[in-house]
């Protein structure tokens, strides 16, 4: 590792940081969370704490800028130089700057949160297939109301999960119109506008009126950014692709690599590139703001570049899903600040110190009720603010007033409340407590007299080998082995040791078994494994299903629904879940009768 000349470091422990402005590439809460997690990388191995403040007095000022952005070290457009930071000290020292000509993501493509629809605000999944075609941006296809939508899974045709993409026709942000959508055309200073405009503003933000006449009503909002089709770099950064466009006399209705030797996708931002020569790069995987920020914050704490290619402080960008710190980084930062004084951190009993890594997700209320072809109801958003004609007193780039802090605080984040999750990925009784898994996190629930919920915890903190998304899990009461299933893979944890991932065919399941949707331990080292309408007898000792062909579920468990997404055992009863409901079967009396039907959250978790 290397430090800067003179071992520059901070001489206090509680470091403060200020997010001075935002990139439009990511939702604000995702940016806040990425920076908070990037700081947490370093606080986890040092005595340092990082507290977010609001103002220039912060030790570390975080800024997005392009080209020359005020410090004499200009950025260089898309790619190449991504960000830089200054070593610890006063003034600009310690600050971190990010090149906003880059596409900032979480490393795996644009993050487009959705609204309404039936996916509870989940982000778009690009590419997704719809009606046999592949889409890598939001689309109005399939709709008659011209609203932009996307699938939140790879395959809309089979999963039917969708949401509406940011669009000024759906809502506006900030301004003074309570998030009402734009009205087109509207008049402003006597002129008619049929699209968002930056006229009247010097900060380049696109806005619109939410009534037919801004001159008369003075009601306005800012147009949401469409990151899925906004170009980066080129000579029209921040503008939208225009499809179709003409290039060398040929018409293109999607991004293309034609004309380039580096294979990068681009599009024109007017209908005729041959005439107007306006263009930019189409969204690609982008750069993980979390990883680049963690690197820059290393500089801001006093670390220089290292020659260890696997280390976080190596100068080149490398996307990884692993924890980014290398032993070389830890040695370096502990050379400057020492190790973390407390014993190993315990799992939080109430809320985790770190924020969720994904935008808040509010799950659906039952089978999709809104089809792409139906109109959503609009919702209010955004605080009232100033008119676009005067300098904004609270500009859209102003930071939100509250943010994550180093000390665990009672979380206000609705997505952390187990009662807000309607559809769980998997539910399993482990160690006499119900474990509910969702999107990389899980809660522990103890029922009985005193209802007690703990979490959410990060799955990877407890079972590091597991993926983000689980299909099912079960604990074998005899051996205490815990089986986790996701897709065609299985993991078997015995205490902290893990076997897997292994393919399901290692258990004797045929290739066409796409996933294990549930399991019922039978005791004596036996269990039932479920997949869709079938189940197999499974021997935990040999870890094989018996060779007979599967049995249909409704043969053994009459009355339960067939398209279950989870089956688990809890307090000696079998639970068959479909959507947010369960059918409880008493397996004791061999008749396997359904003796109760209810809501998972209200009747099992006793949510209010």
């Amino acid at each position: 590792f290397q430090t800067f000349e003179g071992d520059l470091r901070w001489h206090h422990r509680n470091i403060t940081y200020w997010i001075q402005n935002y990139s439009e590439d990511l939702p604000r809460d995702v940016i806040d969370d990425a920076f908070a997690r990037a700081f947490a990388v370093w606080s986890a191995v040092t005595p340092l704490t990082f507290t977010r403040v609001n103002g220039l007095e912060a030790d570390i000022v975080i800024q997005f800028g392009v080209q020359e952005h005020g410090d004499g070290y200009p950025f260089d457009g898309k790619d190449g130089l991504l960000a830089h930071a200054f070593p610890p000290g006063r003034g600009i020292q310690g600050d971190a700057h990010f090149d906003d000509d880059e596409l900032w993501t979480l490393g795996k493509g644009v993050v487009v949160p959705t609204r309404f629809g039936n996916a509870g605000g989940a982000s778009c999944h690009f590419p997704f297939s719809f009606d046999g075609r592949s889409y890598s941006a939001c689309t109005t296809d399939g709709r008659s109301d011209d609203l932009l939508w996307c699938s939140t899974t790879a395959d809309f045709d089979s999963d039917r999960l969708f949401g509406f993409c940011p669009s000024e026709r759906l809502y506006t942000e900030h301004g003074n119109a309570d998030g009402e959508p734009c009205v087109f055309p509207f008049t402003f200073e006597g002129r008619s506008y049929s699209a968002c405009t930056t006229d009247g503003r010097s900060d380049g933000y696109r806005w619109c009126a939410t009534t037919a006449s801004y001159d008369q009503d003075k009601l306005y909002g800012f147009c949401p950014t469409r990151v899925d089709s906004t170009v980066n770099g080129g000579n029209s950064a921040g503008e939208q692709c225009v499809f179709p466009f003409v290039f060398l006399g040929k018409e293109y209705s999607s991004c293309t690599r034609e004309g380039r030797s580096d294979g990068r996708l681009w599009c024109a931002t007017t209908s005729d590139f041959d005439r107007d020569k306006k263009w930019g790069f189409c969204p690609d995987q982008g750069y993980s703001l979390f990883l680049v920020a963690a690197h820059e914050f290393g500089h801001a704490l006093g670390l220089d570049h290292t020659s260890v290619p696997e280390a976080l402080m190596y100068p080149m960008y490398r996307y990884t899903e692993e924890p980014p710190l290398h032993e070389d980084d830890v040695k370096g930062i502990q050379h400057l600040y020492g190790g973390r004084p407390n014993p190993e951190p315990q799992p939080p009993t109430t809320t985790p110190a770190t924020k969720p890594t994904a935008p808040p997700v509010v799950c659906t209320t039952g089978p999709p009720t809104v089809r792409p072809s139906e109109r959503p109801t609009a919702g209010p958003t955004g605080p009232p603010s100033v008119s676009p004609t005067g300098p904004p007193s609270v500009s859209p780039t102003g930071p939100p007033t509250a943010g994550p802090s180093a000390a665990p605080t009672a979380s206000l984040d609705p997505s952390e409340d187990v009662c807000n999750v309607y559809i769980f990925d998997a539910i399993a009784e482990i160690g006499n407590r119900l474990h509910l898994f969702k999107d990389g996190r899980y809660w522990q629930f103890s029922g009985g007299q005193r209802r007690r919920v703990q979490g959410p915890f990060l799955i990877r903190d407890t079972w590091p080998a597991l993926p983000h998304k689980l299909d099912s899990a079960f604990e074998e009461p005899l051996t205490k082995k815990i089986f986790f299933f996701s897709g065609r893979q299985v993991w078997v944890y015995t205490g902290a040791s893990v076997l897997g991932p292994r393919r399901l065919d290692k258990l004797g399941l045929a290739p066409e078994v796409a996933q294990v949707t549930g399991a019922l331990p039978l005791g004596g080292g036996k269990a039932l494994l479920f997949s869709r309408q079938n189940f197999w007898r499974f021997d935990v000792k040999t870890q094989k299903v018996d060779s007979r062909s599967p049995s249909p579920v409704d043969q053994m468990f009459p009355g339960v629904p067939l398209n279950m997404h989870d089956i688990f055992q809890y307090r000696d009863k079998a639970y068959f879940c479909q959507d947010r409901f369960y059918w409880r079967v008493n397996t004791r009396n061999e008749v396997n009768q359904v003796d109760e039907v209810g809501y998972v959250t209200f009747d099992i978790l006793q949510c209010p």
Partner: protein
């Protein structure tokens, strides 16, 4: 059947970088990240080779002192803007 058409490459307005030669790209990179100081640069092969060797050592690349493809690829990779030498 259809024949693959010969690709046509255009220089896109506002995109300087692609028009740099490899050596120009290398000189700009070595200067920007501190491997050579303008005053020291004598524009001869020896000082370029020395600077390249320093870069290759620093980035754990094969130390050839040549502007080989591995080094050029590293120079084109997205990276942090803090200089590697000289703080």
């Amino acid at each position: 059947g259809p024949r693959r058409h010969q690709p046509t490459y255009v220089v896109f307005p506002g995109e300087l970088r692609t028009s740099l030669t490899d050596t120009q790209l290398a000189e700009e990179y070595l200067y920007r990240y501190g491997y050579i100081k303008v005053a020291e640069f004598r524009n001869d092969n020896q000082s370029l080779s020395q600077a390249l060797r320093t870069l290759q050592k620093r980035l754990s690349l094969p130390e050839t002192g040549e502007l080989d493809s591995t080094t050029l690829e590293a120079m084109r990779a997205p990276r942090c803007g803090v200089p590697d030498v000289g703080g």
